[in-house]
C-alpha cells in the first residue's frame, strides 16, 4: 500500500447531499433578526461552505448518509420538528460525525464579514496589522518571588 501525496478528493457533494447539508446547517445556526445576523444557510455563507469542505469530504459524506439513513430518505421532507428530533439523536449517537458537520459549517460561518463584525472583530486577517495585548501588572509576581526557590538541587 503506497500512500500517494495529494490524494485529497477535490470532488464535491451531490445535489442530494447538498440538500441534506443545507437542512442540517439551517438547524445548527439559524439567522437572528434581533442581532441582524445571517444564518449558516445564507447564500454567500452556504456557497463558501460548499467550496471549503476540503479534506473533510469523505467524513462529511459519511455523516450526511448516516442522517439520510436515519431519516429513511431525504431529511428535508420531514417536518421541522421531526428534523430537529432526528438531528438531536444523530448528535448524541454519532458525535464524531456531528463534529465533522459542525466543523465544516462554522469554519465558514465565523469568517463571514457580517458575523465577524457582529462579534466585535475587525474584518481582516491577523497579518499584517496584528493586535494589541496589554502588558498586564507585573507586580503580581511579588508573592512568587518572595516565596523563593522551589526547584530541587540534583548534585
Amino acid at each position: 500500500m503506497i500512500a500517494s501525496s495529494q490524494t485529497i478528493a477535490l470532488d464535491e457533494l451531490s445535489p442530494a447531499e447538498q440538500e441534506t447539508l443545507h437542512c442540517v446547517a439551517s438547524h445548527m445556526i439559524p439567522p437572528s433578526e434581533e442581532l441582524g445576523l445571517p444564518g449558516a444557510t445564507d447564500p454567500a455563507i452556504f456557497a463558501d461552505i460548499l467550496r471549503s469542505i476540503g479534506r473533510d469530504l469523505p467524513a462529511l459524506r459519511q455523516a450526511l448518509h448516516a442522517i439520510t439513513e436515519m431519516a429513511g430518505g431525504p431529511l428535508a421532507v420531514l417536518s421541522s420538528i421531526e428534523q430537529r428530533a432526528l438531528l438531536s439523536r444523530f448528535r448524541s449517537g454519532r458525535p464524531d460525525l456531528a463534529g465533522v458537520v459542525e466543523a465544516v459549517t462554522v469554519r465558514c460561518y465565523y469568517r463571514d464579514d457580517r458575523v465577524m463584525s457582529s462579534v466585535g472583530m475587525e474584518v481582516r486577517p491577523p497579518f499584517p496589522v496584528g493586535f494589541a495585548v496589554p502588558q498586564g501588572d507585573w507586580s503580581l509576581l511579588e508573592p512568587v518571588r518572595s516565596r523563593g526557590k522551589i526547584y530541587r538541587d540534583a548534585d
Binding site: 500500500m1 479534506r55 469554519r107 469568517r111 497579518f127 493586535f131 496589554p134 522551589i150 530541587r152 540534583a154
Partner: protein, 537 residues
C-alpha cells in the same frame, strides 16, 4: 542494488533540517568542513502562512494541519498510529517542528537528569543540567528567547529580551495562582518581543502554531538556518533519505536518498548525523538493516524505536464574565512549576508543568463550544457564542512520560511513503503513573480556574491530537547494552554516526523539549569539535 547516482562526498551529512539539525549545522559550520543537510520538505514561505488570509483558522485543518496524515503533502510521510491513543503532530520542511511549535521554551530542570538517583524511576541521563547550561544559554541567544529572569523554579538564567505580555489572561490566572499560593511565572518564549537579529517583533497575530507570518517566532528557518547557509552549509530540500549505508569496518559511508525528481542517489559522507526527530530517526535506522546490522543500524541494544515518550497533555479551560485576550497574542502566556518535582503524597513519581493559554479564534470557539456542549444548535446559538468568545482561558498540563519499551516505533509492513520507504508504526499506551499525573493535573487545574472565578469549566484528558513531543527512541547512555548513543550522541555501534534529535532523551521531563533538544545538539557539536582528531576512537 540497482545502480544509483553517486554524489561528491562531503565531510558531514546531516539528515533533517528541523530544530536539532539546524543547531548542529550552524555550530559545526565554523570547522570549515564540507557540510550538507538533506531535508525531505521545502523552505516554508511566510507569505503562505494561514494568518495572511481570511481562512486563517480553516487552513489549520487543511494544508496547515498539525497531523501529517491529514495534510498528506509531498513532504509528509504517512504514519500508522492506529495503535496509539495519542496521534502524531509534526511539520516536515526546513525548520521542522519549530515552524508549527508554540515557542513555549522551558528548559529541563536539574532533577530531570537524575530521576533514578532521586526518585528511583527510569534512568539517569549520562549528562546533567550543568553540562548543558552553557548550551541552553547559547541557544537562547541564537533563537532569541523572551523571558523574565528570576524564576524561582530554575537555577538563575539570563533573559535575552523582555517577556511576552501577561495580558488580561496572565493577570487573571496569575492572580488565581497567588490566591492559592502556587508558583507561576511568565513563560520563556521563543518569540521575539523586540527587533532581534533581523527579525521583527511579535505583533500578537495569535497564530503561532500555524507558522508565524511576522517572523517573530523563532523557527529555525529564520534563526539558525540563514546563519548556517551564510557560513556555507549546503541545505538540499525535497531530498528524502531512505537508509544509511555501512562498510566492513562498521562505519557509515553515507546515505541513499530520493532527490526532488524522485531519482535515487547516494551521498557519501565521513560523518552522518541523524536529526529526523523521535519518529523519523528510528524509522531510517530500522530501515537501514543489513547483513551487518540485521536488527537495524546502531541497534545492538535492541532499543532503537523503543521507549517512545510523548508527554501526555490534559487541557482544562474555563469561561469568564469579562472579556480577556481572546484570539489576540501568542497563545502562550505563563507557566507553573508548582507540581513539577516529585511529592510522594500525590501518588505518582515525577510531575508536570502547566502552560497557561489565552483564548481561541471564533471558529475554534465554536468547534470546541459545540463539542463541549456549551454551544447549542438553534436559536440559542448566538447568545451562547457571545458568552464564550474572548472570554475563555485555561491551561494544559504537560505530564512526564516515563520510558517503557512497550511504547515504540517500528516499521509498518505494508504502509509506505511516496518513495516506497516503509512508514513508521506507533504502538503507545499511557502508563499508570502518567495517568495518575493527568488526573491530578485536571483536579488542580479546575481548582485554579475556580479560584480565578471561571464558569463552564471543561477538560480533556488526555488530549488525543497532541503527539508533538517525540522523544526517547534512540536514547543516550554509558552502557551500550542499555542505550543507542553515548553521552555525546555518538552511536555505540557505528563510530561515525551521531544522533542529535529528541530520540536521545533518556527521560522526558515534564516540560516542552525543544530548548533541551537544541542544547543537546549544540553540546554534541561542541564534543565533535573538541574531539575531532580522535572522534572515531
Amino acid at each position: 542494488m540497482q545502480s544509483v547516482t553517486r554524489n561528491e562526498p562531503v565531510d558531514v551529512l546531516i539528515i533533517g533540517a528541523g530544530a536539532s539539525g539546524a543547531a548542529i549545522a550552524w555550530s559545526l559550520a565554523d570547522t570549515k568542513m564540507r557540510i550538507l543537510c538533506l531535508e525531505q520538505g521545502d523552505w516554508p514561505r511566510s507569505s503562505d502562512f494561514p494568518s495572511t488570509g481570511r481562512d486563517w483558522e480553516a487552513r489549520q485543518s487543511e494544508d496547515y494541519s498539525i497531523s501529517p496524515n491529514r495534510r498528506g503533502l509531498a513532504a509528509d510521510y504517512p504514519i500508522n498510529e492506529d495503535d496509539s491513543s495519542i496521534k502524531i503532530a509534526n511539520y516536515n520542511g526546513v525548520g521542522g517542528g519549530t515552524v508549527f511549535y508554540a515557542g513555549h521554551f522551558p528548559r529541563l530542570h536539574p532533577s530531570d537528569f537524575r530521576v533514578r538517583s532521586l526518585d528511583g524511576v527510569a534512568d539517569d541521563w549520562p549528562i546533567d543540567y550543568r553540562t548543558l547550561e552553557p548550551f541552553y544559554a547559547l541557544n537562547d541567544q541564537m533563537m532569541g528567547v523572551a523571558s523574565l529572569a528570576g524564576d524561582p523554579a530554575y537555577p538563575p538564567k539570563d533573559a535575552v529580551m523582555p517577556p511576552i505580555p501577561l495580558g488580561r489572561t496572565g493577570e487573571k490566572l496569575g492572580s488565581a495562582m497567588n490566591k492559592l499560593g502556587w508558583h507561576w511565572w511568565p513563560s520563556d518564549s521563543a518569540i521575539s518581543t523586540q527587533e532581534y537579529q533581523g527579525r521583527a517583533p511579535c505583533i500578537n497575530l495569535g497564530h503561532c502554531p500555524a507558522g508565524c507570518a511576522q517572523g517573530a517566532k523563532a523557527s529555525t528557518d529564520v534563526t539558525y538556518w540563514p546563519e548556517a547557509v551564510r557560513s556555507r552549509v549546503e541545505l538540499r530540500t525535497r531530498c528524502r533519505v531512505s537508509r544509511i549505508e555501512t562498510n566492513d569496518e562498521q562505519m557509515a559511508t553515507g546515505a541513499y536518498y530520493f532527490d526532488p525528481d524522485g531519482q535515487e542517489r547516494f551521498q557519501p559522507a565521513e560523518i552522518v548525523i541523524m536529526a529526523c526527530n523521535g519518529i523519523g530517526t528510528p524509522r531510517i535506522l530500522l530501515n537501514s538493516a543489513s547483513e551487518r546490522f540485521p536488527g537495524g543500524l546502531a541497534n545492538s541494544s535492541g532499543l532503537v524505536g523503543k521507549n517512545l515518550m510523548f508527554h501526555p497533555y490534559a487541557q482544562i479551560r474555563g469561561h469568564f464574565d469579562e472579556p480577556l485576550d481572546g484570539y489576540r497574542g501568542p497563545p502562550i502566556c505563563i507557566w507553573s512549576m508548582e507540581f513539577y518535582e516529585t511529592d510522594p503524597a500525590r501518588g505518582f513519581k515525577r510531575g508536570y508543568c502547566y502552560q497557561f493559554s489565552r483564548g481561541l479564534g471564533p471558529v475554534r470557539t465554536a468547534t470546541t463550544g459545540l463539542a463541549d456542549g456549551l454551544l447549542p444548535w438553534g436559536d440559542e446559538h448566538h447568545a451562547a457564542f457571545r458568552r464564550l468568545f474572548c472570554r475563555s482561558a485555561g491551561m494544559v498540563s504537560i505530564c512526564e512520560d516515563l520510558p517503557e519499551e512497550i511504547n515504540r516505533v517500528t516499521l509498518d509492513p505494508h504502509l509506505k511513503d511516496i518513495n516506497g520507504i516503509p512508514a513508521p508504526k506507533i504502538t503507545y499506551r499511557i502508563g499508570e503513573n502518567t495517568q495518575r499525573m493527568l488526573d491530578h493535573s485536571v483536579a488542580r487545574g479546575i481548582e485554579i480556574l475556580k479560584a480565578a472565578g471561571a464558569r463552564d469549566i471543561t477538560f480533556k484528558s488526555p488530549l488525543p491530537y497532541a503527539g508533538w513531543h517525540l522523544m526517547g527512541t534512540a536514547r543516550m547512555g554509558h552502557d551500550p547494552k542499555r542505550s543507542v548513543v553515548n553521552a555525546w550522541g555518538r552511536s555505540h555501534d557505528v563510530k561515525n554516526l551521531f544522533i542529535v534529535d529528541g530520540s536521545v532523551f533518556v527521560t522526558s521531563g515534564g516540560v516542552n523539549p525543544t530548548a533541551t533538544i537544541q542544547a543537546v545538539a549544540l553540546y554534541v557539536a561542541d564534543q565533535i569539535k573538541s574531539r575531532i582528531y580522535d572522534l572515531f576512537n
